[in-house]
């Protein structure tokens, strides 16, 4: 039997802005079907790594393979849930409209949003329990509801790999629990889920695997082996431990 292909394979990646290295010789393999946390302090290069994996920043050296091949534009392999603070919540759009954006990639040039797309959006809204909010403006949602609306959009897009940038930032405990449950469902359905996070407290409880990062990879593997106090100290510096 062949080795299962890694969902994401980063090899020797170095990225610099203004000739200052942000990521230094990063090598990382994320297997298919795991819930992986990308954990590190502010400024550790987490979002740069995310952008490099998505092909949005050009690395100085190294390469990224998604399911064994460089990421191509026409193949929608990666879904993405943005950090809530980066979104303009005053953008004129309803919850349903936001979720339907997940179908835009499959619609093609003159394709219209039809019944199939609407049904997919309805199903996703029900899964995140927002079906009663679909005609609301996104500005009228609570923080937790906003996060779930974006999750529903990612479900509609239905990519095999899902990135979430700080999904637990600024949401209440109940929402946090329901997001974790939904992410576990995704993983159990065979999807690869990568959560970018700088909060350390809930790592062990929520995630299968952890990659500690600070400019370069400090450790990567199961929570037991890669998330020990010594390694956390190494990634975060002494003050925090």
């Amino acid at each position: 039997m062949a080795e299962p292909r890694a969902a994401i394979d980063v090899e020797g990646l170095t990225v610099a802005y203004h000739s200052k290295p942000v990521l230094w010789d990063v090598s990382l393999e994320i297997a298919s079907g795991v819930l992986m946390g990308l954990v590190g302090p502010n400024g550790a290069g987490k979002s740069t790594l995310l952008k490099a994996i998505l092909g949005l920043v050009r690395p100085l050296t190294g390469r990224v393979l998604i399911q064994g091949a460089p990421l191509q534009r026409d193949r929608q392999l990666v879904g993405y849930v943005p950090q809530r603070s980066t979104i303009d919540w005053d953008f004129p759009t309803t919850v349903l409209d936001l979720v339907l954006m997940g179908t835009y990639g499959q619609l093609g040039w003159f394709g219209r949003v039809g019944r199939k797309q609407r049904e997919a959006a309805q199903t996703a809204l029900e899964r995140v329990e927002l079906q009663d909010f679909q005609s609301r403006q996104i500005s009228e949602l609570s923080g937790g509801q906003q996060q779930r609306a974006f999750l529903a959009r990612a479900f509609v897009q239905d990519a095999p790999i899902l990135f979430l940038d700080e999904p637990f930032a600024g949401v209440d405990v109940k929402t946090e629990r329901s997001i974790v449950r939904l992410l576990h469902e995704q993983r159990d359905a065979g999807k690869t889920v990568v959560v970018v996070q700088h909060d350390l407290n809930t790592v062990g409880e929520y995630l299968d695997q952890v990659t500690l990062i600070n400019r370069t990879i400090v450790s990567s593997g199961s929570v037991e082996s890669a998330f020990t106090p010594e390694l956390i100290e190494k990634a975060y510096g002494e003050r925090l431990v």
């Binding site: 203004h18 303009d88 835009y104 959009r153």
Partner: protein, 311 residues
């Protein structure tokens, strides 16, 4: 009523009215994206910077033909080029030096607009009379009153092409404006979309310069969009309403200025847009300042009443 029928039967006035409404509508529609992408300042820099391109082309046409050209067909490419050049240079500086974007933009505005003013004053004051120099300063404050049929055609071409591109890439532009990273994940070409939005903004600007001039242009780009945002809950209706508001402002300005002698159309158009904006932020349902206050008062009264009943 008689006055209005007279207005519409006069060929020049009709041209000006149609032109101003078209310009207002095109700038209003395209301005929504500048508004939502928080690029108002960038729009202001582009419009000011276009003066340099206009002056350079004017002078080149003078050296080549002995008369400075004021035809939009000749000047608009120059306006486009220097507007875009100011942005490209800003990006270049921001990427390579510690200068931040707002300072970079401010510096480019100073260089391009300052250079434009310098050439303008030189042409106006030069001891050798440069044919065509009269009326050049209208590019500063607008000249809708002298609009010709050729100008209308130029506006229709640029405006029409821009709106067609907007329709063709509607969904992609919408997702890209809202959430660029996600639009990348959907497989859209974000580099192209970003470029397209800049081109559309510059188109909206060079079309509007004719009407209100480079200095006030930003108002025509942003106020209809800001007003429209107050009334709507979807991007489509926002763009449509913004076009309507822009058209209304254009009409109001050109009609007022043809009724009241010596009243310049450009500033009136801009001020009409501001009146629409003020009305919108005060009275729009759900979002208007006064509407919200009124709702709060009513809610407070009702809860007072409830408490009164309960006690």
């Amino acid at each position: 009523m008689q006055i209005l029928t007279d207005l519409f039967s006069d060929y020049t006035t009709r041209t000006v009215l149609l032109g101003s409404m078209g310009i207002g509508a095109v700038s209003g529609a395209l301005g929504c994206f500048s508004y939502l992408r928080r690029q108002s300042l960038i729009g202001d820099v582009v419009s000011h910077s276009s003066l340099l391109g206009i002056m350079v082309i004017f002078l080149v046409s003078y050296w080549l033909t002995g008369e400075g050209s004021k035809s939009l067909f000749v000047l608009i490419p120059g306006a486009l080029a220097s507007g875009v050049a100011s942005l490209v240079l800003t990006r270049w500086i921001v990427d390579r030096t510690p200068v931040r974007e707002d300072s970079g933009l401010g510096t480019m505005l100073a260089i391009f607009f300052g250079g434009g003013i310098l050439l303008l004053r030189y042409v106006q004051r030069s001891s050798t009379v440069i044919p065509g120099r009269r009326g050049l300063k209208d590019f500063l404050f607008g000249m809708s009153a002298s609009m010709t049929r050729d100008d209308l055609i130029m506006i229709a071409i640029i405006g029409g092409l821009s709106l067609l591109a907007l329709l063709a890439y509607w969904r992609q532009l919408k997702v890209f404006t809202f959430d660029p990273l996600f639009s990348h994940c959907l497989g859209f070409n974000t580099r192209f979309l970003s470029l397209l939005l800049i081109v559309l903004m510059v188109n909206g600007i060079v079309v509007g310069i004719q009407c209100v001039g480079v200095i006030l242009m930003i108002a025509l780009l942003v106020t209809p969009a800001a007003a429209a945002r107050q009334w709507t809950s979807s991007l489509g209706s926002m763009v449509l309403l913004s076009a309507v508001f822009g058209g209304m402002a254009g009409a109001a300005g050109s009609i007022t200025s043809s009724l009241v002698s010596k009243l310049p159309a450009g500033p009136v158009i801009v001020l009409a847009g501001c009146v629409i904006f003020l009305f919108s932020i005060l009275f729009a349902p759900r979002r208007g300042i006064l509407t919200v206050k009124l709702l709060q008062l009513r809610a407070a009264e009702e809860s007072d009443l409830d408490e009164g009943l309960a006690s």
